[in-house]
Symmetry: C2
Subunit: 337 residues, 2 copies
């Protein structure tokens, strides 16, 4: 058995068996966007971590250090958002190659601090060590949510509608441009996609708002829409049917896809790290969402419906219904950008 | 300005300025063994993280993967111990080179789980990614302490006695054996030192007990006794005088030092990662400590006294009093084992 056969998720399943020694303090361990922990009082803690490796998750020169710092924080913020929580405190670990100067780390921290300022997160500790080859960053983030109010992957019910909070595929389009720098694209479209890849925006306010509305399940899109649909369906014990024509894709992503000779919807379905939220909601909740939210222009693009079994299915543009493979970004298999 | 001039601590000072955006939730940010955070209820949260890089912090073949896993957890547990807290929940990030097999990661996790079982810590999440060259592990650990009961580095007062919880220098002796595998040593002494380096024991129960007794300051010895004395004195605005003859050094460490032609007390003063606790206590507290503790044979080796200024000083074996440089292990400067 090797890593490719196991994949990231199979491996995690094996490693994280029997790791709970005080179950009375754990509402949710491994298996959702964050852990959910009991503490004294009326709140639950959310706890998550993400590791980024130079050359695997980012390339310096394509992303600035400031963007790398921002993104390291953003991917964790997105996990807290997906639980409906409020981010609070971060610790930051850096392994730094000798070619980087102190001013480089200041720039990296600047990006993290910008994200922390926007989302009101304290950086309260960390560890900084040397590493001969690559810059490695780990952020661990604590958040909180009112007791009983966390939103899991497991709450989707047949009949619920499925939504995403924004257009998809831009991060993958940016990654494509990174791999193919000579691709002739309209500058504005290329800039938009590059930025979406290098410095994505986590949907923190939206996640909190949606949780308050009572959405039934939620998770952030870090491994690709198809992969996240599988997670929600598996956790909830349901199936779903998604309509390809309803998946929102920005015109700038379509224009890059056209130049690349790739179907833009592939990027939207299988591209990672858009950091939008995927959620399900009952009909009653649906009305609340669209009527009341004022934090951004829209936060609900309906993309399909939760079904009673049937797996994860896609209604293609031609009307044909096909099974939709997970096929998303596997951080473990995908060793190099 | 480069890293060597700045050092680990100078760099951290620069990076972690202005990182608190919600000060009302932070009792203590960067600058102690862990952060201390307010939550609802009667408890404070402790939050810490440590990053370990293969070839920098450990060498496979010298340490087993199981020991590496144990140590990754132990160094964090030791930080919680130094605040007088109880460890609770961990998230684990791994960057894994392609030469490692899934069974290797199972072994690594086994070591972490052993530590978690002993100290009742839940592993509640993590991130596993690829890294071309080296195994990199990050553990972020949450703990808790009763509100108002955390023990800081800043509480030492002139007249307090200084103590350590156990003999020092064994980890550094183990590191010396790693660098000099041909050194002829008694097997039992070599095994003891190697194990102290590869799989040190964090003083979790002792830290909680000492906090309960009311010790005035505490921190774990991860960068060397001399370095930690400087931390406590600087944080507390005091000086100290340590007696060389009172610094506990195990006979097995002395025997390895003798073969190596090195003064064992140097390892005790400047060697990192013994994971014993250094603490200060007033005379009243002193009596409690020695009388009541039953968790291990002894937890208080008096090594000196806190003074009203005068810097960090050492009374050598010959009676001469000299300034004691920090000189400890700098994780940033020390790039390779």
């Amino acid at each position: 058995m090797n890593f490719n056969q196991l994949g990231e998720f199979g491996l995690i399943d094996i490693l994280t068996r029997d790791t709970i020694y005080k179950p009375e303090e754990v509402i949710k361990g491994v298996g959702d966007d964050t852990a959910v922990l009991k503490v004294d009082g009326n709140k639950w803690l959310l706890f998550t971590t993400d590791l980024m490796v130079e050359g695997v998750h980012f390339v310096l020169g394509y992303s600035t250090l400031r963007q790398v710092g921002w993104k390291a924080m953003a991917v964790n913020l997105s996990d807290i958002a997906a639980m409906g929580g409020r981010p609070a405190h971060a610790v930051v670990s850096l392994a730094v190659p000798p070619r980087l100067k102190p001013s480089d780390l200041v720039e990296l921290y600047q990006g993290m601090k910008e994200a922390c300022e926007v989302y009101k997160v304290n950086i309260v500790g960390g560890d900084t060590v040397g590493n001969p080859e690559r810059l490695v960053l780990n952020v661990a983030l604590l958040g909180e949510v009112m007791a009983g109010k966390a939103v899991y992957r497991s709450g989707a019910r047949p009949g619920d509608k499925l939504y995403v909070t924004g257009a998809l595929g831009a991060s993958e389009a940016g990654l494509h441009l990174l791999r193919n720098p000579e691709l002739p694209c309209p500058k504005e479209a290329a800039d938009y996609c590059r930025k979406a890849h290098a410095a994505p925006i986590p949907r923190v306010d939206e996640g909190g708002y949606l949780a308050g509305c009572g959405v039934s399940s939620m998770q952030d899109i870090s491994d690709g829409l198809a992969s996240e649909l599988h997670h929600i369906c598996k956790s909830s014990g349901v199936g779903c049917l998604v309509r390809q024509v309803d998946i929102p894709v920005d015109a700038r992503v379509r224009s890059v896809a056209e130049k690349a000779g790739i179907d833009a919807v592939k990027w939207a379905l299988f591209g990672g790290e858009d950091l939008e939220l995927l959620f399900s909601a009952s009909r009653e909740v649906e009305e609340k969402i669209s009527d009341e939210y004022t934090g951004s222009e829209t936060i609900c693009y309906p993309i399909g419906i939760v079904t009673d079994g049937g797996g994860v299915r896609l209604e293609q543009a031609d009307g044909k219904i096909v099974p939709l493979d997970r096929g998303g970004y596997d951080h473990f298999r995908e060793r190099d950008i």
